[in-house]
């Protein structure tokens, strides 16, 4: 039997499984680009307006970090500046999640074993996953290009934009293919792959933030650090600027290398196992495991450590930029406006506005963390472990509360440590924002994360079988409305639906109790409603 036998069948199976999810990613990306072009055209109709906005932005490391480097002053260039870096993140996430879905997750649920016992070669599953994911990337790139062309932007730039999206997705497809071979379990693999996207974003961001301004006062040449990141490569294609087509080869080369390595690894490991063999565990449980909370912590601690450490390190990196922001922005007026837009507020002190904007991002990360941890409830329920636990003398409320405690505690630790880290790094770099202030700014994000957590508990209690989809969709909408609402020109009433729109922009503005109390109340009501629904329903196995 050839190693690739049955690949065609698996491709059809994978495409069928993904017939809703991938089209949503792809269509949503195209739709966001369409809306993005319209918003930019509406907001910056004149060259002069664009020039002054870009001049301001080019001097702000924070803006460069989030949005990448400006490549020109025409409409397309501004669209690139506003949307390109987030679009690259989107394709990165789409690709990693799709790869994990069709490799590790399949194996974990035993589907692969069933498939493997049919006439299916060793390499078939990985080949099928790669085929579907790469096809999705190509489709996304084509559709984005078509949307941009349809919006009247230049042909070269639109082609480069779509192509860069597609190949960046492919680079992460390769990375995820390797991760799926190295890690035990879909959750660990997903966490690793998503972290890879996050790290690539930070590396690209820092490289851009440290970039050098070109003579025209608009364009910025990224520092070498950007070139270490697959997201940086995508950006360096510079659509609507001086398109550099050869850069497209870098992510493709990474894909080729990763795929070769992944196939070599497939040949070395058994189905269901990682490369690292299982070590024996303790024959007797330690006391700390023997409670619902002990179990929940044991199940969640790996993910919690990963998120908290990753976030705290990012906090250090952000903190170290504070002083640079201050220097670069001295006497630059347009910049404060742009930063203010990013932070959702205007403020006198640019460094404070910068930190407030960053803390808002960490609030989103904490909310994502809480969503991931709480969805463990559903995984335990559908996986049958909850049945075993709830058949012991553990009540449903207690079981739910134990996982909720992990989510809330982890999110709080993540935000406080991240804020404190930023404060420490800021102090080390000569800033004076303060460790306590920034730790508090971090903590002020917690109510928004808790409101998201409440939403997850609600859907888990009310619609268990849809809860995973609804929870992530809810988070995606909250991020879109709250953080990108201005970029895509949503009305304020829609943006207000997101908890992230209500967090006070500490330290740029003074803390106010109103929104925090409001968010906490929403979180409490949602959580209580979800808990009541859960206690009244059948276990959905």
């Amino acid at each position: 039997m050839s190693a690739y036998a049955g690949t065609g069948r698996l491709i059809r199976l994978a495409a069928r499984r993904d017939r809703i999810q991938l089209p949503i990613w792809i269509l949503a990306s195209a739709a966001v680009m369409g809306a993005g072009v319209a918003a930019v055209a509406d907001e910056f109709p004149t060259e002069a307006g664009r020039v002054s906005a870009l001049q301001a932005a080019g001097g702000s490391p924070a803006v460069l970090l989030m949005r990448g480097t400006p490549v020109g002053t025409d409409l397309g260039a501004l669209v690139n500046f506003r949307n390109f870096s987030s679009m690259l993140v989107v394709v990165g996430l789409m690709s990693t999640f799709a790869m994990v879905r069709h490799t590790r997750q399949n194996e974990e649920t035993g589907r692969a074993e069933l498939i493997g016992s049919g006439v299916v070669g060793r390499h078939a599953a990985l080949t099928a996953a790669l085929t579907v994911t790469i096809a999705a990337n190509l489709l996304l790139g084509a559709l984005v290009t078509a949307t941009l062309l349809g919006s009247g932007l230049a042909v070269d730039g639109s082609l480069a934009f779509g192509a860069a999206c597609a190949v960046t997705g492919m680079a992460f497809t390769g990375i995820a293919a390797i991760a799926a071979q190295l890690f035990q379990g879909a959750r660990a693999t997903n966490a690793f792959a998503a972290t890879a996207v996050g790290v690539a974003f930070m590396v690209r961001g820092v490289g851009d933030a440290l970039g050098e301004r070109a003579a025209d006062g608009i364009q910025v040449n990224s520092a070498w650090l950007s070139w270490l990141s697959p997201l940086g490569w995508g950006a360096q294609v510079r659509p609507y600027g001086d398109e550099r087509w050869w850069v497209l080869a870098l992510p493709v080369a990474l894909l080729v290398v990763c795929v070769g390595a992944a196939f070599a690894l497939v040949d070395r490991r058994d189905l269901g196992a990682g490369l690292l063999p299982d070590r024996p565990g303790p024959a007797i449980a330690s006391r700390s495991l023997l409670s619902p909370l002990g179990l929940a912590w044991r199940l969640n601690r790996g993910a919690t450590y990963g998120w908290v450490i990753g976030s705290a390190v990012s906090g250090l990196a952000i903190g170290s930029l504070g002083a640079a922001v201050n220097d670069a922005m001295a006497g630059n007026e347009g910049a404060s406006e742009l930063l203010g837009q990013l932070a959702g507020t205007g403020g006198p002190d640019l460094v404070d506005v910068f930190f407030a904007a960053m803390m808002n991002i960490f609030g989103v990360l904490a909310a994502s963390f809480a969503v991931q941890i709480l969805l463990r409830l559903r995984a335990e329920e559908s996986g049958g472990q909850a049945e075993a636990v709830l058949a012991t003398a553990v009540g449903r409320a207690k079981w739910l509360a134990s996982h909720l405690t992990c989510a809330v505690g982890g999110a709080a630790a993540m935000l406080v440590l991240t804020g404190a880290g930023a404060g420490l790094a800021d102090a080390a770099a000569g800033g004076d924002t303060g460790v306590v202030t920034l730790a508090g700014a971090g903590l002020a994000q917690l109510p928004a994360a808790l409101a998201m957590a409440g939403f997850v508990v609600l859907v888990f209690g009310g619609l268990p079988r849809l809860s995973v989809t609804l929870a992530w969709a809810g988070l995606a909408l909250a991020i879109t409305f709250g953080l990108l609402g201005d970029v895509i020109g949503l009305p304020q009433s829609v943006r207000d639906l997101s908890p992230f729109s209500h967090v006070p922009a500490i330290p740029a503005v003074a803390a106010t109790a109103g929104p925090i109390v409001g968010l906490l109340a929403v979180a409490a009501v949602l959580t209580a409603a979800g808990a009541v629904l859960f206690r009244r329903r059948d276990l959905a196995l």
Binding site: P282, A391, R537, D538, L539
Partner: protein, 302 residues
């Protein structure tokens, strides 16, 4: 004394499927009760209702005298459950899973745990991810039987065990039964049920079709009889309880309802019988008749 399990007229529907359709189940305190029925009959669904994991649509359900939905936590201190599909946490070791499940139920007996671990030849240091189906089942069995509880609810607990482990399981059930515990045993293995259970209930399509002691149920089955006599055997076709009669001259073979066997033997005594062979009723035969789809419920429970 109250019955350990009292279920009357239990109905549970999933959307348009009526998984349970007026099911009755009575398990007396201290007995080992066999719970049988073809795939999809509703055994697992019944058990999940008994555990308060599913909410009954209608009907009365009492577990150890309490309401399994409202008093779940209090009742679960007093019972242990082995699910049909044992799903454990991949990263925990078997020993950790046993201690955890036992402790969450209210504690387990350390010495008993050790004894059972040896009896079932379980390596507690292995990660659950690496256990085979049978070994996962052993983890659940050890966790359940190491608890000193009044009621054991076992859903096809031996479907993955080898014959040696099956014997260990039977020994363990006899031990807990010997100290007065009640056991509800759902199973597809007739020999296991015959060896362990004092009473059984057979369900089909969510309804109880048969319930009673093994002796009573044997009574409901038919004995296969073949006779050869010195003279032609007549009159058998007129006797009650005789089925599938094939009479050719001096030979006859037929099935007879066990309850009617005495009358048939009295009739045969009038002939000069040389050879008489009979095959005693087996539970398996009874089950087959109940499980088979062709037989309407009314005829079976006659």
């Amino acid at each position: 004394m109250n019955d350990a399990l009292e279920v009357t007229g239990l109905v549970k529907a999933f959307g348009s499927t009526r998984a349970l359709d007026g099911l009755d189940l009575h398990v007396r305190t201290g007995e080992v009760h066999g719970f049988l029925g073809p795939n999809g009959a509703g055994k697992t669904t019944t058990i999940r209702v008994l555990l308060g994991l599913l909410h009954a649509d209608s009907g009365q359900v009492k577990v150890l005298g309490g309401d399994p939905w409202k008093d779940a936590v209090a009742l679960h201190h007093r019972l242990a459950y082995v699910p049909g599909d044992v799903n454990l946490w991949p990263n925990l070791s078997g020993g950790e899973a046993i201690d955890l499940l036992g402790d969450l139920r209210g504690g387990l007996d350390k010495a008993r745990r050790q004894e059972l671990m040896e009896r079932f030849q379980l390596d507690p240091a292995k990660r659950c991810r690496t256990y085979s189906k049978g070994n996962r089942q052993k983890v659940a069995l050890v966790a359940a039987f190491a608890s000193d509880v009044e009621l054991f609810i076992l859903d096809e607990p031996t479907s993955g065990l080898d014959p040696l482990m099956e014997a260990a399981f039977q020994q363990t059930v006899r031990e807990v039964s010997g100290r007065g515990a009640t056991v509800l045993l759902s199973s597809h293995i007739f020999s296991e049920v015959e060896a362990l259970c004092s009473r059984v209930s057979i369900i089909r399509d969510g309804r109880t079709v048969e319930s009673g002691t093994l002796a009573e149920l044997r009574h409901l089955t038919r004995t296969a009889v073949a006779v050869e006599a010195a003279e032609p055997i007549t009159g058998l076709d007129g006797l009650p309880g005789v089925h599938d009669l094939v009479a050719e001259g001096m030979r006859a073979s037929f099935d007879v309802d066990s309850a009617e066997l005495p009358g048939v033997l009295r009739h045969l005594a009038a002939f000069e019988v040389h050879v008489l062979t009979s095959h005693p009723p087996t539970l398996e035969k009874l089950f087959m008749r109940h499980y088979g789809n062709g037989v309407p419920v009314s005829e079976v429970s006659r």
